[in-house]
């Protein structure tokens, strides 16, 4: 299979944008993002983590909740949010907040799927909360606990799989 490249760029003052092409129709890509039994098979991070909790109430105002657990040391990391917009199979807007958030307030994620010739281009934009909220946190001291959980995330980010684990 042809390797598709993941692109990450910044846009505006507070956005991070990821783009990736998948060799599948967007209905399937949409399903893979919205059906728990499918989500927990790929949204896992590095090897050694599983997703014991994956709850999705796919409607505007509905909540989702993800919890990852490390298979050997039992460490857990959770996050969740609320769906703001759902246009199947092309667009989802949801809020996102980690239990031990290292950034202020909620981030808002927008998933856009565009299908062309049987392939789907995924664009995921993370929009971080107001500059005022951000500046408030920059001025304050971060609590040790938050920093520690961020370090845990950094460890998690540091060790990534060399290949897929389907």
């Amino acid at each position: 299979m042809k390797r598709a490249e993941l692109k990450i760029t910044t846009a505006g003052d507070r956005e991070l944008v990821m783009t990736r092409v998948f060799a599948a129709p967007r209905t399937l890509v949409f399903d893979a993002h919205t059906k728990p039994e499918l989500v927990r098979r790929w949204l896992l991070g590095p090897p050694g983590w599983s997703m014991p909790v994956c709850e999705i109430d796919l409607r505007v105002g509905g909540r989702y909740r993800y919890v990852w657990r490390h298979d050997t040391n039992g460490a857990e990391m959770g996050m969740g949010g609320v769906y703001r917009e759902i246009v199947a199979p092309e667009r989802i807007v949801n809020t996102e907040r980690f239990d031990a958030a290292w950034y202020p307030g909620e981030a808002v994620g927008t998933l856009v799927l565009v299908e062309r010739g049987g392939s789907t281009t995924l664009t995921y934009t993370m929009h971080y909360e107001s500059r005022a909220a951000r500046d408030a946190v920059i001025k304050s001291n971060m609590e040790t606990g938050v920093a520690a959980s961020y370090d845990r995330l950094a460890d998690l980010l540091a060790s990534t799989p060399a290949r897929g684990r389907a």
């Binding site: 299979m1 956005e15 599948a24 920059i138 971060m142 799989p161 897929g164």
Partner: protein, 114 residues
């Protein structure tokens, strides 16, 4: 400042195109605020404001010359930010490669439904 907190500040600082242009200019050598303002259609206070954000993020520091107060690039901090972004990219690439495999399987099921 905490390392994590610092990284947030760095990314916020890097998010603005003018600030990235300032960093690109400083990559070719130190410059005063006036010199930095020249390529931009911007007032000196506006440039100073951007510089303050870059300084707070540790991306830019001030030279010793008290008269010119030249600004210079702090490459170490920029390196930390790119390293983070690369790790983030690798994490998501791992996820998306698993998603590729899953989609492959789902397509096969669609072709041969049981």
């Amino acid at each position: 400042m905490q390392a994590t907190h610092r990284l947030d500040t760095t990314f916020a600082a890097l998010a603005h195109p003018t600030r990235r242009a300032i960093l690109a200019r400083l990559a070719s050598g130190e410059a005063s605020v006036t010199e930095l303002g020249e390529p931009f259609a911007m007032s000196q206070p506006a440039i100073s404001k951007h510089l303050k954000v870059l300084e707070r993020a540790g991306l830019v520091s001030r030279g010793r010359d008290a008269q010119r107060r030249p600004r210079r690039l702090e490459p170490k901090r920029l390196g930390e930010a790119t390293t983070w972004l690369e790790r983030y990219r690798r994490l998501w690439e791992g996820n998306y490669q698993r998603l590729d495999a899953l989609l492959h399987e789902l397509k096969a099921k669609e072709r041969n439904p049981r």
